[in-house]
């Protein structure tokens, strides 16, 4: 087994206890929180008999330790259980219904943030302490400290209400049908050759992804700038300059390439922040993704759904960070595990 394969395997094994610790913490916190899920489900007018019956059906009449063991056993069988409210749909189905929306938003916001970050960071590093540099650095601080709902609302007002050129909420026009296969509307529209669907999905995606992307771009701007400055002052760049390599080639082929490792690290770290930001963005734009879904289910104390969703997120974050580590190794031959 190569060292990389061994590393991947170890990381995967290590993520198992991590997920169980998280699962236990979530399980305990949900039960410590005041609020009776059964009452929240059936409404305050329900009779005692109705409450008891539902408590039994949901297994909430058992002692806590037994509920915990039941839950862990079902997770081991990869059974996320059923939601406790509104039709008791399987948690995995609920996740699969909502996750594509979050994924689509996150990916597009990620592209926006990295794009803005690289362009502004690069411009900023070309002439340090120039007017351009100072303004872009200020931009990065402002962008990072912007409150997502505030920026979202400003964009909604400008492009939705005043100019009326972009939609303010939702994922697609209600007048356009998209046949879903992956749940990612852009991909689905391409797969089904639905031009109308593609256009509406992109239009609805623009404002939310710009909102989230701009806020997250500040980090990249600063990182690209400092990383580029480091690289540009390195000996090998000076040597290349001395050899008369054209500036463009120097910047893009040699400097940016080498400055990319810390940026890649940041991309991995930013992933969980991206998901957290997606929650706020989803609420602002009524985007039917995981964020709004999770918030709503926490309010209703839908134990199984909240637990399942958090386990899902934990798995996702650990897989992404593992993937980032693997990409390092592939990009930079010096990195060995």
């Amino acid at each position: 087994m190569t060292s990389l394969k061994a590393y991947i395997l170890t990381r995967l094994i290590l993520s198992i206890p991590m997920i169980f610790i998280l699962l236990t913490v979530v399980f305990v916190i949900l039960r410590i929180l005041p609020g009776d899920p059964v009452l929240a489900i059936v409404g305050m007018k329900a009779s005692e008999e109705q409450l008891e019956k539902l408590r039994r059906q949901l297994g909430l009449d058992k002692p806590l330790w037994m509920q915990y063991i039941d839950y862990v056993m079902s997770i081991l069988r990869l059974d996320f259980g059923r939601s406790m409210i509104w039709g008791r749909r399987p948690v995995l189905t609920e996740i699969m219904d909502h996750f594509p929306a979050t994924l689509e938003l996150s990916v597009s916001a990620f592209i926006v943030s990295v794009g803005i970050g690289i362009i502004t960071g690069l411009l900023s590093s070309l002439k340090p302490s120039s007017k351009v540099d100072v303004s872009l650095r200020i931009f990065s601080i402002v962008a990072y400290s912007l409150f997502i709902p505030l920026l979202g609302m400003i964009l909604q007002l400008i492009f939705g209400v005043y100019l009326r050129i972009l939609p303010v909420a939702g994922r697609k026009s209600p007048l356009v049908d998209i046949q879903t296969m992956t749940g990612l509307y852009i991909i689905d529209s391409i797969l089904t050759l639905n031009l109308e669907g593609l256009i509406t999905s992109i239009r609805y995606l623009i404002l939310p992804s710009i909102t989230l992307g701009v806020v997250l771009s500040g980090v990249y701007t600063r990182l690209v700038r400092s990383s580029m400055l480091d690289v540009l002052s390195a000996d090998f760049i000076r040597a290349l300059k001395a050899r008369g390599i054209p500036k463009k080639q120097l910047l893009f082929k040699h400097a940016l390439k080498n400055a990319f490792i810390p940026i890649l690290t940041m991309m991995g770290l930013q992933f969980s922040i991206l998901l957290a930001g997606a929650v706020l963005t989803e609420t602002t734009f009524s985007w039917p993704g995981m964020g709004t879904f999770l918030m709503e289910r926490i309010e209703y104390r839908d134990y199984t759904t909240v637990q399942g969703t958090i386990v899902f997120f934990a798995l996702l974050v650990s897989l992404v960070s593992l993937a980032v580590d693997v990409v390092y190794a592939l990009i930079d031959p010096r990195i060995r595990y």
Binding site: D36, M44, A46, Q50, I165, G170, L175, I202, F260, S286
Partner: protein, 527 residues
């Protein structure tokens, strides 16, 4: 090489995204044709709401919005005539009441079919009612509390025998829980929460994507043709998003629930209309008379007298609600302004001070109470409601109020369990009859959900009598007496009655807002 490719891909994607964005912004009209540009044969109305669909099964649904959807994709034996509270035949073309109101004979319309082709027969109707009782969902009590047995007389005639005569049973028969559904589309013994089959109504559900959209199409099997072929309901997360959607022209109608300030602002928009209607939902304060010092009637009366309803209506709701002086909403038969008769329009600080003094309180020995509210269940205005109530009570100089709050699931748990001294609650009626505004609150065996705040055997007798009395004027007298007792004992104090507001584009017509409160989509059309 790999890094260069990666950078190239990223740059290309950004450029494409920017170019696409620019292109799309340049030609908005060509990209999404507004509804009116659709082919004329299909008329579409888009309604935005912050509500959500819970369980699309009449045996389980028990919330305002899901009932609204069910009322548009199904129908009961009776239905409310728009603009009035009169119950007219729905799927039952005629009916007969026997044995002093104990037996109901319903003759169904012939030739109606469910979406799956099954014919509407007495057998299907019986199956639907018995299914509700079997499943024992949240609204099962509409059947189990009243119905002894359901029998099929002939193919189109149904006989319902009640345990005892119920004066308002016709209204109960109109609730969605009684809507006939097809035995071939719903399981007999279990809930079918995402079932889009529906009953027999003006529309059927063409598509339902939870949290996103619900598409309804005119039902060719229904006996009347809706004015609009297709209704699309879009779901929004909050009032702000809903407001932006109507302002940007994305939707034709913004229905529940905009903030009071949004309604005031949108009234000024030239391209929009704000339609106002009477609502039958009420808000009230519950004094738990088992908890000292609220076990003292004088204390409850003093607080009832010092309540400044006008300040709540004007300051918090900007005039979008009206003060209420009984639990029975104004405009409903049987209503009397019991609290106004007893305490005046309010706030009546002189009377409040006098009562507090009688109860042993003074400016140096203040009455100390906790006032509880829940921050989001009744909208974002709730904290302000609590603050204004505190202010009005403290103006007596003899009361000190501590405001406390809890999230909804905790709030109702605390109310039912240990009991909270003073709480704020609201009520959407199940059926339109004074009984539904008095019995669940005041009858000893029925108000456990409010933490059993009150018990009065004399009042219990009056309420029970009013339930079985079939003479409407006698019932009105009984309810008037019940409301006077309520005002005197003051275990629950009404605050205000809600109005209904819809913001719509100027060319949208046919919106009926009446105390039934559920929007009838089939009457709405665009000019």
């Amino acid at each position: 090489m790999a890094r260069t490719t990666l950078i190239a891909i990223i740059v290309a994607v950004v450029i494409i995204a920017v170019a696409a964005g620019y292109f799309l912004m340049q030609k908005p009209s060509e990209i999404t044709p507004p509804p009116e540009e659709k082919p004329p044969e299909e008329k579409v109305i888009i309604i935005g709401t912050t509500d959500k669909v819970t369980d699309l099964d009449p045996a389980m649904a028990y919330d305002f919005f899901t009932w609204e959807v069910l009322s548009n994709v199904g129908e009961g034996f009776f239905k409310y005539e728009p603009e009035t509270l009169e119950l007219v035949p729905g799927l039952a073309e005629s009916y007969e009441v026997q044995e002093g109101g104990k037996v109901w004979i319903l003759k169904l319309r012939k030739g109606l079919k469910f979406r799956d082709g099954t014919e509407l027969t007495a057998e299907a109707a019986k199956w639907s009612i018995e299914r509700v009782a079997r499943i024992e969902g949240d609204p099962a009590w509409f059947v189990t509390d009243f119905v002894d047995k359901v029998e099929v007389v002939d193919k189109y005639t149904l006989k319902i025998t009640l345990f005892q005569p119920v004066a308002f049973y016709k209204a109960v028969l109109a609730v969605p829980t009684y809507f006939p559904i097809s035995p071939n589309s719903y399981p007999a013994d279990e809930i079918s929460p995402d079932n889009t089959a529906g009953g027999i109504g003006p529309y059927y559900i063409e598509k339902f994507v939870r949290d996103q959209e619900l598409v309804l199409k005119a039902n060719p099997n229904y006996y009347e043709k809706p004015k609009t072929d297709k209704i699309i309901i879009k779901f929004y997360k909050d009032a702000t998003a809903l407001r932006l959607a109507i302002e940007s022209g994305e939707i034709d109608i913004a229905w529940r629930t905009l903030n009071p300030s949004d309604i005031v602002d949108l009234k000024k928009k030239e391209d929009l209309q704000v339609i106002e209607g009477k609502g039958a939902f009420i808000r009230y304060i519950v004094f738990n008379s088992r908890i000292p010092p609220l076990d003292n009637k004088l204390v409850r009366q003093a607080l009832a007298a010092a309540l400044d309803r006008k300040a709540i209506v004007d300051k918090v709701f900007l005039g979008t609600v009206t003060p209420l002086y009984s639990l029975v909403p104004a405009g409903m038969w049987g209503h009397i302004d019991a609290f106004k008769d007893k305490y005046g329009e309010g706030p009546n600080y002189d009377l409040a001070k006098q009562l507090l003094q009688q109860a042993g309180y003074s400016e140096t020995n203040k009455l100390k109470i906790e006032l509880w509210y829940t921050p989001s269940h009744y909208g974002s205005t709730e904290a302000d409601v609590a603050a204004v109530i505190k202010e009005s009570w403290e103006k007596t100089g003899m009361v000190e109020v501590e405001i406390k709050s809890a999230e909804w699931s905790t709030y109702i748990e605390l109310t039912r369990g240990q009991g909270l001294p003073v709480t704020l609650y609201g009520w959407y009626p199940d059926y339109l009859d004074p009984d539904n505004f008095l019995f669940p609150f005041l009858h000893t065996d029925s108000n456990r959900w409010l933490g059993k705040p009150y018990s009065n055997p004399d009042l219990d007798v009056i309420l029970e009598e009013a339930q079985v009395e079939t003479d409407k004027s006698k019932r009105a007298d009984l309810y008037a007496e019940a409301q006077r007792i309520l005002a005197d004992d003051a275990p629950i104090v009404p605050i205000f009655q809600g109005k209904l507001f819809i913001v719509a584009k100027k060319n949208v017509k046919g919106i009926v807002l009446d105390p039934y409160m559920l929007l009838r989509y089939w009457l709405i059309y665009k000019e």
